[in-house]
Amino acid sequence: MNDLALKELLYKMADDLLILGHRNSEWTGMGPLLEEDIAFSSMAQDKVGQSLALYTMLHQLGEQTPDTVAFTRNANQFHNCVLVELPNQEYDFSLVRHFLFDTADSLRWNILTKSSYEPLAQLAGKIKGELRYHTLHANTWVKQLGSATEESISRLQKSINIVMPYALGIFEESPYETHIIDKGIFEGEKVLMEKWQAKVTEVISQTQLHLPDWKILTPVLGGRKGKHSEHLQPMLEEMSEVFRIDPTAEW
């Protein structure tokens, strides 16, 4: 087994989940409805939990402890896509990002239930209920607000237009793509993107929203190789503030 290829896959998944989990947790106490605040915060917590499971897997493959990799790396050592690090704007932005990312994430884990790498297949089976809830939540809100009022439709549409090039960056290919596919670890980003486009189209077609033409969009790439927006480093500094003051702190 080429460890580098597997680790690259685990790192990018873990980093996506940690960074988006943190971004979504920034809504805690500020959500648009009390109940939605709780739901969005819970899902953010699920994401951080899933990232912990992946960092633990990496630790078993010889990487440093989960806390060390989560809190001591610099932005250029993170493999998350740029989409997840973008600062929160209005709630429609976070909701659209949640819909586009979680649709991809849940399809990715669904493929991984058949992974030849057993720990990954097991984790995929374990968290499938969390993912089912996350996508049900996202799809229901998008369907509701995407056909409700002029304001809700135009807000979601504006966010879709802004977020979509970044969402395509989820599928930035790894240098080990062929190896990962040949070894049966994962079907690869291309297959995932096709499934994702079909699912996103299916949900959006039940609303008054429309999708931009995939072909003319330029994906925002680079995140998987450590090339990030100016927003990641300040977020990491905030996220790791307590750890840097006292690495033994518990709460």
Binding site: L33, L34, E35, E36, I38, A39, S42, M43, Q45, D46, G49, K126, I127, K128, G129, E130, R132, Y133, L136, H137, T140, W141, Q144, A148, E250, W251
Partner: protein
């Protein structure tokens, strides 16, 4: 009621015999009643209320509002106005003695029946009857479930409920591991003790 205790002041008034009416919705976004099954084999019980624009979103919002801690195996929601409530008794008489028989109906549908076994507690699901109206459902429930003194009965048409589907049963698989959501998991007392000892 002469009391300064807000929990007592807020208790609903006891009812009149024969009156069955829809539960009054709260004056907000639209309210939905949430029922939770805490363990396999245990009855569903009324857990509280969420606000939502529709039934499906009510289900989604109820899931995290009421089942993000402790144990849960299933959940369902129903719009508040679709919950029919019997009169409430003071405990000296049985609510089923206040239920009057309506004229028989033709078209029967399943209704879920809930009992309030104690004032101030939660309504608990006791079973299902086939009836043509909430009034008839309660009248049939009297024949089927009338075994001890009950304070209040609810009847809900099964078709009005957003149930958890079989595939959705996996929503709560990882819940028992989420101890970090319980305040007790922070062990605040232990940490404080340790801190105070260090200060000596």
């Amino acid at each position: 009621m002469n009391s300064l205790d807000p929990r007592v002041i807020r208790l609903p008034k006891t009812g009149e015999p024969g009156i069955i009416q829809p539960k009054v919705p709260l004056d907000q976004f639209g309210s939905f009643e949430v029922f939770v099954q805490p363990k396999e084999g245990k009855s569903f019980q009324h857990e509280g209320v969420v606000h939502s624009p529709n039934l499906e979103l009510a289900y989604i919002l109820a899931k995290e509002t009421f089942t993000r801690r402790f144990t849960c195996v299933s959940l369902y929601v129903v719009e508040t106005r679709n919950v029919f409530a019997s009169p409430l008794t003071d405990g000296n008489n049985n609510v089923y003695d206040l239920i009057v028989d309506p004229p028989p109906s033709n078209k029967k549908e399943p209704y879920e029946i809930y009992h309030l076994p104690k004032r101030g507690k939660q309504h608990i699901h006791v079973g299902q009857v086939e009836a043509g109206s909430p009034e008839e459902a309660m009248s049939f429930a009297r024949k089927k479930f009338n075994t001890k003194i009950i304070y209040n009965v609810w009847a809900v048409k099964s078709a009005d409920i957003r149930f958890t589907s079989i595939e959705e049963n996996d929503f709560w698989i990882t819940l028992p591991e989420k101890h970090f959501r319980d305040a007790a998991d922070y062990k605040g007392g232990d940490k404080l003790k340790l801190f105070l000892e260090k200060q000596k």
